[in-house]
């Protein structure tokens, strides 16, 4: 125990290592590349559109990662918050003329309020109640959106009144502006994730994820911590929902609240690395590349429909090969090489 003499000197804390500087370099280069994409000679609306789709997808993954990855609370129905963001912004604009620049925040606040109600009911209970409640509430909102067609447009969905290129209401004919906005959102969400992984609130949240009982014994207010994390995650998800709405200019109940959407939201973090800052980014990028790649390949080969199958198979292979996500896989390989046991996940 304490009597044993330890060989290694304590590592000075807080100093970034060489690897971290290199990672920072890659990150800056990648951001610069994405931001300058429209300037490149081969860039066109199609390519930029794919990148925008990827960025929105990544933002959703980052938002879900906050409550599920860092907080360990499995939300199977995050479509609720996505849908509230999209519908909220759209309805505020169409019916009240409120610009999405403001509407986005109001919709995020609404999503946050719904999140607090869900959390207040389910977080006092242990076990799967939270996960179940999110599914049930998703389904309920999908039905509501279909039923109140006078307000929501029902099954056909909600179409945003289009005014051409009008930056004041977050509308453009060309996708470049969305590229920059989505990139800014992804960067902001990345910063939020990094803060959670390092800061006091995030530390409490990770403690709750790792061992709820030990966390409460250590003085963490578990209920309040989970509630705040869900509020944050829901608001972030709603902001990504606004982006989706403004980019596509329409939303329908299935896309907004459907379970398939809720599952899509979970994939970037699961594929890339749950509870990590880089995971949703890597996972989201890979999935969009994969879905575009298989799509193009299958239509070239005249094998329509095979793309979805191929996409599913590759995802399955990743999950089988790297159950802790791509970043978790790389980390455990690295640890194996340095001769230590592989952790179950975590880190950034």
């Amino acid at each position: 125990m304490a009597g044993t003499i330890d060989s290694g000197a304590p590592v000075p804390a807080g100093l970034p290592g060489r690897a971290e500087f290199r990672q920072l370099g890659y990150g800056v280069a990648l951001v610069a590349l994405v931001a300058c994409l429209p300037l490149l000679p081969f860039a066109n609306s199609y390519l930029i559109g794919i990148v925008v789709r990827a960025l929105i997808f990544i933002a959703l993954g980052q938002a879900w990662n906050v409550i599920a990855g860092i907080g360990g609370q499995l939300s199977l129905g995050h479509g609720v918050f996505f849908g509230l963001g999209a519908y909220g912004t759209g309805l505020l604009f169409n019916d009240f003329g409120i610009t999405p620049w403001v509407g986005a925040w109001l919709a995020a606040a609404l999503a946050g309020a719904v999140a607090v109600v869900i959390g207040a009911i389910t977080f006092r209970l242990r076990g799967i109640y939270f996960a179940l409640a999110t599914v049930v509430i998703s389904l309920a909102f999908e039905k509501l959106a279909r039923f109140y067609f006078a307000l929501t447009g029902g099954d056909t969905g909600l179409a945003v009144n289009f005014r051409g290129t009008a930056p004041a209401v977050m509308q453009w004919r060309e996708p470049e502006a969305f590229l920059w906005i989505s990139l800014a959102v992804v960067l902001a969400f990345y910063a939020v994730t990094r803060w959670l992984l390092r800061g006091n609130f995030g530390l409490a949240l990770q403690a709750v994820r790792d061992d709820e009982e030990a966390a409460t014994s250590a003085g963490v207010n578990v209920y309040r911590t989970k509630l705040l994390a869900l509020l944050l995650s829901a608001a972030m998800t709603a902001l990504a929902g606004t982006l989706h709405l403004q980019f596509y200019l329409s939303i329908d109940p299935g896309t907004a609240f459907g379970l398939s959407q809720a599952i899509q939201i979970q994939l970037p973090a699961l594929i890339g690395g749950l509870g990590t800052a880089g995971g949703p980014i890597i996972g989201g990028a890979i999935m969009i590349l994969l879905s575009e790649g298989t799509n193009v390949a299958s239509s070239r080969l005249g094998l329509d429909g095979v793309d979805v199958l191929a996409y599913g198979i590759v995802l399955l292979l990743i999950v089988l090969k790297a159950p802790v996500g791509i970043l978790g896989y790389i980390k455990s390989k690295r640890l194996q090489r340095s001769g230590r046991a592989a952790p179950a996940g975590g880190g950034d």
């Binding site: 125990m1 030990a214 250590a218 509870g275």
Partner: protein, 235 residues
């Protein structure tokens, strides 16, 4: 003032009563042991004190303040720290982050660095592991970390649930020595154990069997009793 007063405590899980009518008190500077075999109700007593479960009957007071109805985190902030059974560390956090979790919501006169240094003073091994993820640490180190985390709350009373579980006899002896040092630095200790060797350092204690008090008294009385001899031999 009495640091912890437990009066007529009863804990039941549905129809099953785990703790029947238990009373004891812990005074400042004491090492008090709750001794007993598996299923004797020791853990239930600790969990009731720390707010992890609601007692069916009885009162719990610390320096005149009732603990009944408080959440575990509120009990921790009163200076009653619970080290639960089985090395409940946060596996994905580093050793230092594990310690820091206890500091987050604390209103302490000491700074984070001062508190960490005190823990590292007691467990130097943790200082050299501070940047290491807790799930890569050895069993003994994880137990030290769990105790260190509780010490970050600057407890008046440190409650430990079978800290010797799974440790070698040598490790166990060393750990008991650390507990004596922690007591010397001003914290009282409430220790739950099956391992009767802890009697040597206890001031007073209680022997539990099937949720009832079989024996209570000071160090000498516990040491010389037939009950304890039998428990110690594992009969």
């Amino acid at each position: 003032m009495t640091l912890l007063a437990v009066e007529s405590l009863r804990v039941a899980y549905g129809d099953l009563t785990a703790v029947h009518d238990i009373s004891f008190s812990v005074e400042p500077g004491e090492i008090f042991v709750l001794l007993g075999a598996n299923g004797a109700g020791k853990t239930s007593v600790l969990r009731a004190i720390s707010g992890l479960l609601k007692p069916t009957r009885g009162t719990l007071n610390s320096e005149g303040v009732s603990l009944l109805g408080l959440r575990p985190d509120q009990v921790a902030h009163l200076g009653i720290a619970h080290v639960p059974e089985g090395r409940r560390i946060f596996p994905n956090l580093t050793a230092e982050e594990n310690l820091d979790v206890s500091f987050i919501r604390q209103r302490s006169k000491e700074t984070l660095a001062q508190l960490r240094d005190r823990v590292y003073g007691i467990f130097p091994r943790l200082a050299s592991r501070r940047r290491q993820t807790a799930n890569t640490m050895s069993g003994g180190e994880q137990q030290m970390l769990a105790i260190g985390r509780a010490l970050m709350n600057t407890p008046k009373l440190l409650m430990l649930d079978e800290p010797s579980l799974g440790l070698s006899p040598l490790m166990t002896e060393l750990m008991f020595e650390q507990l004596a040092r922690i007591r010397d630095q001003g914290a009282s200790i409430l220790l739950v154990e099956q391992n009767a060797s802890c009697i040597d350092m206890a001031t007073r204690g209680l022997l539990l069997a099937n949720g009832h008090t079989m024996l209570s008294g000071d160090h000498a009385k516990l040491r010389d009793s037939d009950f304890v001899r039998r428990a110690y031999l594992g009969v």
